[in-house]
């Protein structure tokens, strides 16, 4: 009589009472299949304990840094030009803008990882045709609805960033604004191709991945645009503040 899975797991964890443990020991002495289970479990536990740390992607810090520099709440010391003395207090509406922008900077649709439902769904060819068809149908439907949900989340983030970018775009010179716009169009083109591909082949992993990638690229570029506008504005205000103080001094 083989010990059940729970008992074997407890055994491997060393949490069985003495009597139970020795009874399992005895069983294992003669049972190859239970021995195998125990060996596998031990293997898993040992490897689990040896799993190494993974380094995050390199770009993570620069994204984070950008988000932080848009944080209005904490006084910041940057390595660059000293912060404008006028920054604190005077620019109330600017701070609201910053706060909203900071919230959106990280709006990279966490939790919208597109579950590639189409990927592991394929039943082996030996299962009944009808069953396979039903599964395929349900899969296609759930893929569609997941897609719509994912798009919805991304699009909210994108709209928010676009609104900021558009309203403040006069901070940028026309050539740069045009370059950014042109490249946003490149990304939009990629998104629409990917979308068409997903609609035509919902189960295709490359199609799904490229659509998500497209959204992320778009958000990334919009974030860069917003960050750039922010820096221009800071530069403007620093210059403006100096002028204002300069004028005061001259007493004109």
């Amino acid at each position: 009589m083989h010990p059940n899975d729970t008992t074997l797991n407890d055994y491997v964890d060393g949490s069985l009472g003495t009597i139970e443990q020795s009874s399992v020991d005895q069983h294992l002495a003669t049972c190859a299949s239970c021995q195998q289970i125990v060996a596998d479990l031990r293997d898993i536990l040992r490897t689990a304990g040896e799993l190494v740390l993974r380094e995050p992607p390199i770009r993570s810090w620069s994204r984070l840094e950008r988000a932080i520099t848009m944080e209005p709440a904490v006084r910041r010391q940057t390595t660059g030009a000293s912060s404008s003395p006028a920054e604190a207090g005077r620019y109330g509406s600017y701070r609201t803008w910053l706060a909203a922008a900071a919230a959106l900077v990280l709006a990279t649709a966490v939790g919208i990882r597109y579950m590639p439902l189409g990927r592991s769904d394929a039943p082996s060819t030996s299962s009944g045709g009808a069953a396979a068809a039903i599964t395929a149908d349900a899969t296609a439907q759930s893929v569609e609805s997941e897609l719509r949900q994912a798009e919805g989340h991304y699009e909210n983030a994108i709209r928010g960033l676009e609104a900021i970018a558009n309203s403040e775009r006069s901070e940028l010179d026309p050539r740069t604004a045009a370059t950014l716009q042109k490249n946003l169009a490149v990304i939009d083109q990629a998104i629409s191709e990917s979308r068409a591909a997903v609609r035509s082949q919902p189960a295709s992993d490359p199609a799904q991945q490229s659509l998500i990638e497209g959204f992320k690229n778009k958000i990334g570029l919009l974030q860069d645009t917003v960050a750039l506008i922010n820096e221009m504005r800071k530069g403007n205000e620093a210059g403006a503040a100096r002028i204002a103080s300069g004028l005061k001094q001259k007493g004109t």
Partner: protein, 351 residues
């Protein structure tokens, strides 16, 4: 696609131009100044001979010092060298009236162990149409090689050579070029090319453009993060443990090393991805495209671990190698190559 913005975001305040002076008198003066500058700006611009004004300054700084330079329009060249002195040479230029030059100031802030240089001018504020090429300032700076450098410009190129301290070099519309900068951390531009040689010995490096190319050559780095939207990414003679190389419509070419247990991720939507490998360490390849083709000149074992996992089901076999998807192993499979495109081709070739 046009960015139309009929959106109202709750809680987002539309920013009104902030009041610069509480005092009414000053506001009036400012307004008049703005008007004057604006009207003046339309006269004599780009039509006269070039007027220049030189600026020169030397400052002492420790070998652990930090140097920052923020420019608006104009080219910047920074060179690292021996000694403990920063030498700044700048030339203001305009094709307008010579009086324009006085409106642009070069500000140098000196602190213990730190020097911050800035180009400032009223045009920052008043010239909402950003005619930044009105007055430009070109900088030529030498710093002690070990100094930490942070250089930013808006419209103009940035070139840094021989700076061995941590380095960030950014511009908006202009090229960024660095050479012999072992601790380069970031090199970015929006419309311009980024070109890096001989950099980043142990660290991570980010190089990005939006519309320009990113070229990395002759480097040894721990991690490389290279990106463009419509430009190409070209990597040659490079050794790194981690790579992220991505473009949307540009091509990506990697002619670098593959090191044991390294992780290399390459992505393009419609561009071609080309890997040119010369005796790479073993790797596991996961290549996928929606409509692009995938081919390899290297002898790959189709399948390998990943395919074995998804098995001998017909889907598994189909996925392991069809024209749009390839999971294969080369050698001991210790490194990981993940290559994805949408419509671009993927080519793995021998170098």
């Amino acid at each position: 696609m046009r960015l139309t913005a009929p959106f109202v975001i709750a809680g987002l305040a539309m920013v009104a131009w902030p009041a610069l002076a509480q005092d009414n008198d000053h506001r009036i003066v400012l307004r008049d100044l703005v008007r004057t500058l604006r009207s003046g700006a339309y006269q004599g611009r780009n039509t006269g001979p070039e007027q220049t004004e030189r600026f020169s300054r030397k400052l002492k700084i420790g070998r652990d010092g930090r140097f920052s330079l923020a420019n608006i329009a104009g080219d910047i060249v920074i060179t690292g060298g021996p000694g403990d002195e920063i030498s700044i040479e700048a030339v203001k230029r305009t094709r307008g009236d010579k009086s324009e030059l006085a409106r642009v100031q070069i500000t140098v802030d000196e602190h213990p162990g730190r020097v911050d240089v800035r180009t400032e001018g009223e045009q920052n504020r008043t010239d909402r149409n950003r005619r930044m090429d009105h007055v430009s300032v070109d900088y030529t700076v030498t710093v002690p090689a070990s100094v930490v450098v942070d250089v930013r410009s808006v419209s103009g190129s940035v070139k840094v050579t021989g700076v061995h301290g941590a380095l960030r070099a950014e511009t908006v519309s202009g090229n960024v070029t660095t050479a012999d900068t072992p601790r380069l951390e970031t090199a970015r531009t929006v419309s311009g090319d980024v070109s890096i040689t001989g950099a980043a010995a142990d660290g991570d490096l980010t190089a990005a453009s939006v519309s320009g190319n990113v070229t990395a050559k002759g480097l040894k780095a721990r991690g490389l993060d290279l990106g463009s939207v419509s430009g190409d990414i070209i990597v040659s003679d490079v050794t790194c443990e981690r790579l992220g190389a991505k473009s949307v419509s540009g091509n990506v070419e990697y002619a670098g090393a593959i090191v044991k247990t390294g992780r290399y991720e390459i992505n393009s939507h419609s561009g071609t991805v080309r890997l040119l490998l010369a005796s790479p360490a073993g790797f596991e390849l996961n290549a996928n495209s929606f409509s692009g083709s995938i081919r390899s000149e290297l002898p790959l074992t189709i399948g390998g671990d990943a395919a074995r996992r998804d098995g001998n089901t017909s889907r598994g076999r189909r996925d392991a190698a069809n024209s749009h998807s390839m999971r294969a192993t080369f050698g001991d499979g210790s490194a990981t190559l993940v290559v994805r495109t949408f419509s671009g081709d993927i080519i793995i070739a021998k170098r």
